[in-house]
């Protein structure tokens, strides 16, 4: 018998229309240490569950044959509750079909009358445990959902005109985070970070470190010192126990608005991309680096850049990189699509195996600028792979600009192909390279590509180049480049070629025959 000194093992609701059965069950359960409430029919049971709340009971014993609504119907009704107590069907009917139907409706056990204490004890204990576990999972799920909303809200809080981001957590809560801290009127620090893992643990560590950074920021430390201190904390505090090993891949962007400059620091994060006012795109801070928490002596990759009017920086966590690789597109193209789509493509994100975070910073948000779509640096000798390279450009451009018409796309692809092949053939020795970058200016609807090599350039005049219809075959590639692009220009003495396309459907360039 339960009491204040011996709290009940659980609270059981016994539903039976036969009074003697109710009395027998009550006595048995009381002796076993349970608190008991009884009901004479399904309607009484429903009223008790609704008025007191289903959480009040840990187990419900239901007679199969009840007047009015039978035991299975009551069981079916209970299944519509959010977290119903586990149910045991009690009956004198040993028919196999009756037993099967009861279990099929969700009963945890089927006991034959007259019920023996030796059968009742383990059945009720199991049912009570199941009920408690079900409630615990519901509480955890509710907490997770709330945590995810807080996490997302804190990230959205940091978005403004200069800073645009896209975040997708693989689970309810992820370890990716964006921090933006104003150090003084001319300096701010942006952190794009990825805690190892993408579960509740990662979310907790992420929140912990955000608070830690917030505390350190008040001292306005140099970014490199801040990162060293974070690394030290992680190495000493968490990672000395190998079973707790954790790490943070992080990119810190220290913006100096008055100087029109920025310091880029990478700690094991993907490369950061910069596009300037002319739409030239390059990757930054190439050097090797390690995530925070791996090594006591932190290896940073650092680059200081000009971050002037019309420039744009894009940084992302490796979840974006992995997703881009999964669908075989350039990370920057995928970043553009995620940042600039009215609504994200759920089919696309369903393929993400990790949290995805991408951040874009504009040096001067009031000034419309080029946004980077892709940048590739190919080592010499890649011309044999030109078909694969071209297929990759096509996939990337289609994902970034899904409205791009096929006719215009093929003009772009053909010009890129001809330009890159020319660069490989004529501007690139064995140890050379070819860089292809593409950017897009949404306000002008202008696509711009740049093809560069380390060669000495040339003095070729392609303006006057006109193929002889009687069969001259040289120069057709350059003629295509000249005439299929909206405009073109050689830079660096011919070692770089800039091509533009107006993506307005009506802008179809016609040949002016000389």
């Amino acid at each position: 018998m339960s009491s204040d000194l011996n709290p009940a093992l659980g609270h059981v609701l016994a539903v039976d229309d036969d009074e003697s059965s109710r009395v027998l069950l009550s006595r048995l359960l009381d002796r076993l240490g349970y608190q008991v409430t009884t009901a004479g029919d399904a309607e009484q049971a429903r009223n008790l569950l609704q008025e007191s709340g289903a959480d009040r009971f840990d187990c419900i014993l239901i007679d199969y044959f009840l007047p009015g609504q039978d035991g299975l119907a009551l069981l079916e009704w209970m299944n519509s509750l959010e977290a119903p107590p586990a149910a045991i069907i009690v009956s004198s009917d040993s028919n196999r079909e009756t037993v099967r139907a009861s279990l099929h409706h969700g009963a945890t056990e089927y006991l034959l009358k007259p019920v023996r204490a030796s059968d009742l004890k383990p059945a009720v204990a199991t049912a009570c445990l199941r009920s408690r576990n079900r409630r615990l999972r519901r509480e955890q799920q509710t907490a997770l959902v709330r945590l995810a909303r807080i996490h997302q809200s804190m990230m959205d809080f940091r978005t403004n005109d200069c800073c645009r981001h896209f975040h997708h957590a693989r689970g309810a809560v992820g370890g990716d985070w964006l921090g933006r801290y104003r150090l003084d009127e001319n300096r701010s620090l942006v952190m794009v970070a990825d805690v190892s893992g993408h579960d509740l643990v990662a979310g907790f560590i992420s929140a912990y470190f955000q608070g830690f950074v917030r505390g350190l920021i008040d001292r306005k430390p140099p970014a490199a010192s801040l990162l060293a201190e974070l690394n030290s904390l992680l190495c000493m505090g968490w990672s000395h126990d190998a079973s707790l090993m954790n790490s943070i891949s992080l990119c810190a962007i220290d913006l100096h608005q008055d100087e029109g400059a920025a310091d880029i620091y990478r700690c094991g994060s993907p490369l950061v991309a910069l596009s300037d006012a002319e739409g030239a795109v390059r990757n930054l801070a190439y050097g090797p680096s390690s995530p925070l928490g791996w090594f006591d002596d932190l290896q940073l990759s650092h680059e200081r850049i000009v971050f002037a009017e019309g420039s744009t920086l894009v940084a992302w966590t490796d979840g974006l990189e992995a997703l881009a690789e999964e669908i075989s597109v350039a990370p920057l193209s995928l970043a553009y699509r995620l940042l600039d789509s009215a609504s994200p493509d759920p089919g696309l994100l369903a393929r993400a195996d990790d949290d995805v975070l991408v951040v874009r910073l504009a040096a001067t948000p009031a000034v419309a600028s080029f946004l980077p779509l892709l940048v590739h640096v190919y080592p010499a000798g890649q011309q044999t792979r030109i078909d694969d390279l071209q297929a990759g450009w096509e996939r990337s451009l289609r994902i970034a600009l899904p409205g791009l018409e096929d006719a215009r796309l093929f003009d772009v692809l053909l010009c890129l192909r001809e330009g890159v092949l020319n660069a490989f053939e004529h501007g690139c020795r064995d140890d050379g390279w070819v860089r292809l970058s593409v950017s897009f200016h949404p306000a002008r609807n202008l696509l711009r590509a740049r093809i560069e090599d380390p060669g000495f350039g040339h003095s070729l005049d392609i303006v006057g180049l006109a193929p002889d219809p009687r069969g001259v075959t040289r120069g057709r590639g350059l003629v295509l480049i000249r005439d299929l692009s909206q405009s073109w220009a050689f830079e660096r003495g011919g070692a770089a070629l800039r091509l533009d396309w107006d993506l307005e459907p009506s802008m179809d360039k016609e040949l002016c025959l000389k």
Binding site: D406, A407, D411, L414, P469, G471, G477, L480, L484, L511
Partner: protein, 108 residues
Amino acid sequence: MKHELVRESKTLRVLFAHDILSTNAESLRTELMSIVDAPSLAPTSWDCLEADLSGARMVDSVGLNFIAGIVKVLQKRGKRLRVRTASPHIRRAFKFTRLDQLAEVVGA
């Protein structure tokens, strides 16, 4: 490379199932010439080679050179080339490089 001889119009039709690019132009040339020079095909049974490019989305500069080369070979034999394509991109490339003056270009 599928092909058929249309005797009524004395046309040898050849289907190009893929793009004509720097990476496959040489093999396409070999394959096409084996059709054109096939002993079973009497030289007088056709005077027009119709290249059906409906399977191609793109022809690059080497592909255009291939087309121009085919025109030369056919011209030496007193024959002509007709290119069939619905791709506005390919038609534009032919126009800009004046290959439409060497070969008849028609829609698909």
